[in-house]
């Protein structure tokens, strides 16, 4: 008893000098200052983005018309369009998704659920996180050596898809692993407890619960690929292209053709870059319009990711 009374004395004595009004006012002031700084830093990003959007819209909006989407590039700025660029972007992203998504998701599942924890998996893990930080131009150099010259796939849509698939692989792997890890262990125990095999636990319970996060990772990866320019220039994307790739659907048997995979291509960001590097404000307006289209595509992909995540999460509750 005596001991605790003594302790209370000590506490009140050490506290007393700090509790005067001036000290408290000082603490409040510092807190307000911090909040103001935080708000200002947030606004910098927001203002920059809206300024960018406004600037792009002011330059580009007047150029946006049906013709702009259905015309090939041209020497005359007013007749030029982004037909070959958006078709190229769509096809390249398609190839990227078909190659990158299964590889990335499978690797993520394997690393998280099956791989033993040893030095091998540690090395793979470190590698995956490092790959995510490699500058995209390096992927371009790798692809130029490996695909264009090594495998002879040429400066084609296929090469571009392969390159971007490599680029977004780490993003998808990391997203897959994180969403798998977020699935509560109790769900796995429940399934193991009634005699499910590891495969059944993963397929029937872990993956369905992880799908929202996996999808988000995939879409963020794809929208990153959509905006990439440097690696595609490295592998030799065209900058002026007045024809479309071979159509994937033909009128003769077997009705499906894969020749388009080996055609030359350009993509939206390269088209925009090409226009911006020309003299004359007419072409700059075209570049702004192409930038707007690219931005709209990326933002709607991200919006889709948010909607999907929200929708699917609501179905799952623990």
């Amino acid at each position: 008893m005596a001991g605790s009374a003594l302790r209370a004395d000590v506490i009140s004595e050490t506290r007393a000098p700090g509790l005067d009004a001036g000290q408290i006012r000082g603490r409040r002031l510092r807190e307000k200052l911090f909040i103001a700084c935080g708000l200002a830093s947030t606004l910098v990003g927001l203002i920059a983005l809206s300024f960018l959007l406004f600037d792009l819209a002011a330059d580009g909006l007047p150029r946006l018309s049906w013709d702009f989407f259905t015309s090939f590039p041209s020497r005359r700025a007013s007749a030029a369009g982004i037909l070959s660029a958006w078709v190229g972007s769509v096809l390249v992203i398609l190839v990227t998704a078909i190659i990158g998504v299964p590889l990335g998701v499978a690797a993520g599942i394997y690393l998280e659920e099956y791989a033993r924890r040893n030095w091998m998996t540690n090395i793979i893990e470190i590698n995956v996180s490092n790959l995510a930080a490699v500058p995209s131009i390096v992927y371009g150099l790798l692809a130029l050596g490996l695909f264009v010259y090594g495998l002879g796939t040429g400066r084609s849509i296929l090469t571009a898809g392969l390159t971007l698939a490599l680029l977004i692989l780490p993003i998808i792997i990391v997203a897959t692993r994180e969403s798998i890890r977020a699935v509560p262990y109790s769900i796995r125990e429940a399934a193991y407890g009634i005699g499910a095999t590891k495969g059944q636990v993963t397929r029937d319970h872990v993956l369905p619960a992880a799908i929202p996060g996996v999808l988000t990772g995939i879409i963020i990866g794809l929208s990153r690929a959509l905006g990439e320019t440097a690696p595609l220039i490295t592998i030799g994307a065209l900058t002026f292209i007045a024809f479309l790739p071979d159509p994937p659907i033909t009128s003769e048997f077997p009705f499906i053709s894969f020749r388009w995979l080996f055609d030359g291509f350009t993509v939206l960001p390269i088209q925009a870059f090409n226009w911006i590097s020309r003299p004359g404000s007419d072409f700059h307006a075209n570049a702004a319009a192409a930038g707007l289209v690219l931005l709209a595509l990326t933002l709607s992909l991200n919006a889709l990711a948010i909607v999907l995540r929200y929708r699917l999460r609501r179905r799952l509750q623990w």
Partner: protein, 273 residues
């Protein structure tokens, strides 16, 4: 497993009143569990009587849950865990290479501390087990299994009109009964329960306890509990664990009226724990 211990299994659980005359279902001899370098269980040997309720009591961290999880090899899912000793169910060593762990877990079901229904409908929660084990040949058979399991888990009346609704939408007590129905659906012989009522309110707890009492007609039940009154109410035999060791094991009645060990006495009278 290190060495096989020959066990002359007694036909009667010694010293038991309520479980007297019951054959032994599970024989455990010198069971040890390590998590990495840490030894969590020391040479536990205990017989579990058939179709009776055996309760494991003891303070937190005493190893009772760890031991429970040995009997359906649930510790296999923890990479750092290592189990030695002999565990035989109906004379069959559960660590035997010829025994598939998937098959074992179908025979030895488990109910967990926190109700953990799948994020699926009530029907699918119960039907999942029979489906993966191929227990039903037709939809009608599966329906019958689901209905019978829910009835046995005393959930049918509350759930029959909402079978297609998510299992996670039920109340905590209902969820736990759903988990019991899910375990029953694969027709196990043993049900392990790891503090099945600790997350429930008193009324839901009472229902689970009534249910356990009914289930012992058909199943061998081992229940881990923090609640000594619960052990006294539902079990026929009780084992007291302390610091990873099995201290004492006896009929529930004797355990709570005349414990032999000082530590059991102290725990039961509330001096620690």
């Amino acid at each position: 497993m290190n060495q096989r211990v020959e066990v002359a299994a007694p036909v009667v659980a010694a010293g038991s009143d309520d479980a007297r005359g019951r054959p032994i279902k599970i024989v455990n001899r010198d069971v040890n569990v390590w998590y990495g370098d840490k030894r969590a269980l020391h040479d536990v040997s205990i017989d579990i009587p058939d179709r009776a309720v055996t309760a494991f009591i003891g303070p937190s961290g005493c190893g009772k849950s760890t031991f429970l999880r040995c009997m359906n090899r649930m510790n296999d899912t923890i990479p750092s865990a290592r189990v030695t000793g002999t565990i035989e169910i109906d004379g069959q060593d559960i660590h035997d290479r010829s025994l598939d762990v998937v098959q074992l877990r179908a025979r030895v079901g488990m109910v967990f501390q926190k109700p953990n229904p799948f994020a699926k409908s009530i029907y699918e929660n119960v039907a999942y087990g029979p489906r993966i084990h191929g227990l039903a040949r037709s939809k009608a058979e599966l329906d019958a299994i689901v209905e019978q399991s829910l009835k046995r888990a005393a959930l049918w009346d509350e759930a029959k009109d909402r079978l297609s609704q998510p299992g996670t939408g039920l109340s905590g007590g209902q969820q736990q009964r759903l988990c019991i129905a899910r375990a029953i659906a694969v027709d196990p012989e043993v049900i392990l329960m790891d503090e099945p009522a600790s997350a429930l309110d008193p009324i839901a707890t009472a229902r689970i306890e009534d249910l356990i009492d009914e289930l012992r007609q058909n199943y061998t039940i081992v229940i881990v509990t923090h609640n000594m009154q619960q052990a006294a109410r539902v079990s026929q035999r009780t084992a007291f664990f302390h610091l990873g060791k099995l201290v004492e094991e006896a009929s529930t009645e004797r355990m709570f009226t005349a414990p032999r060990d000082k530590r059991t006495q102290d725990y039961i009278t509330g001096r620690f724990g």
